[in-house]
């Protein structure tokens, strides 16, 4: 894997041609999904609401709900996390900002959930520093890029999340052993699968964080809870 070569050494700086092209392709992929399936789990490549929500359960473990906090949702899609938060944590005060590359997704998210503490922005990374960031499924579909190039993209995304999270962030990956049915719409070849170890190491050594791996929730994937500072 190309983790030894840091993202900055491979031309993967924000604004670089490769990175820009990747963002365009990811944006096109998800805009096509939501155009086909609407604001539904299938529209963001999950098989159903139950598995989508179960991923949120794991990701939100990073947050301390005993006090109000701010949250960046990277690759927020149509804002499904808002519905989950309303159902699961109705009493919690969460200053939420959903960010997505796809204008079509953000448009649907705004229509459904926009409110003073539920805001959305089109973009590549969190435009603000928040207490926490979460990202569900954004590392999974490699839209045809090679493993090495995609891993540089993943590293870039993790670094962005680190830079914009005061307390921590969480992210999930398809596990290496998985068969190709984790994402509902993507085929086997386009799925990026990995083991926790290299990304745990990356977050610990390159980003200076403490990492907890959750991989025992019955899905062929794992979630990293990355604590900063």
């Amino acid at each position: 894997m190309s983790l030894s070569a840091k993202a900055n050494d491979t031309g993967m700086e924000p604004g670089s041609e490769t990175l820009s092209g990747m963002y365009d392709n990811v944006e096109a992929y998800y805009s096509a999904r939501v155009a086909k399936h609407g604001a539904t789990p299938l529209g963001v490549d999950w098989s159903c609401q139950a598995t989508q929500s179960f991923r949120f359960v794991q990701l939100m473990r990073i947050c301390d709900f005993s006090a109000p906090f701010s949250l960046n949702d990277i690759g927020c899609g149509y804002g499904a996390l808002c519905a989950f938060l309303a159902m699961r944590y109705p009493e919690s005060r969460i200053d939420y900002l959903g960010v997505d590359l796809s204008r079509a997704m953000i448009s649907r998210a705004r229509r459904r959930f926009q409110s003073p503490d539920r805001r959305f922005a089109v973009g590549k990374a969190g435009p603000r520093v928040a207490d926490y960031a979460v990202a569900s499924g954004i590392m999974n579909v490699n839209v045809g890029y090679s493993r090495a190039v995609w891993e540089d993209f993943v590293a870039t995304m993790l670094r962005d999340m680190r830079c914009t999270s005061r307390r921590g962030f969480s992210v999930n990956f398809v596990a290496e052993t998985a068969v190709a049915r984790t994402s509902a719409g993507s085929d086997a070849a386009s799925l990026y699968r990995t083991n926790p170890e290299p990304w745990v190491r990356y977050c610990e050594q390159e980003l200076g964080c403490a990492v907890e791996t959750i991989d025992n929730y019955g899905m062929r994937e794992f979630t990293l809870l990355v604590r900063c500072g």
Binding site: Q49, A50, S53, F54, V179, R181, G218, R220
Partner: protein, 170 residues
Amino acid sequence: MGRVIQDSTTLDVLSKLNRRFGPDDIAEMVHLQKEFQIFSSDRLLEDSFKLLGIVPCDRLERERWFKFLGKLKDYESDLPDVNGYNRVILAFEQALTVTPHIPPRPALPVFVDVHAMAKDPRVTFSLEGTPLIFSVQPYRILSIPTKPGRVAREEAADAAKERRAEKSKK
């Protein structure tokens, strides 16, 4: 199934059910059940299947599928005083609830099957069997009575004819 939804939809739904509750995915389903109580007496069966995305893609067929699920309330089951609708809920609830055991016993997958209503009009659930002749994998087996759509339509037409004849006699 049968008269209510198209044969192709029946096959599609059975395929979805047997994939989600099959050997590869049953552990995921057990965790989902534990977290969300997807199958429970507090939740409509229609909502359980919506949550799991086990619904036909076509909107009209989806409505018919929900209609079919509702009709299961008129079916009998292999449990006394439990209708077919509640039997399906109980069966999945039971299949996806793992009781502590040493050594741990993984949940068995669930095979969702259909059988001829003429032979047994009840929704049935058996705790263990090997429904696939090409596999020794044990399953729990949930079976729904059905009859071919054409037979059901002919029976309905005959019944209507009889009613009309009775009416004209009077």
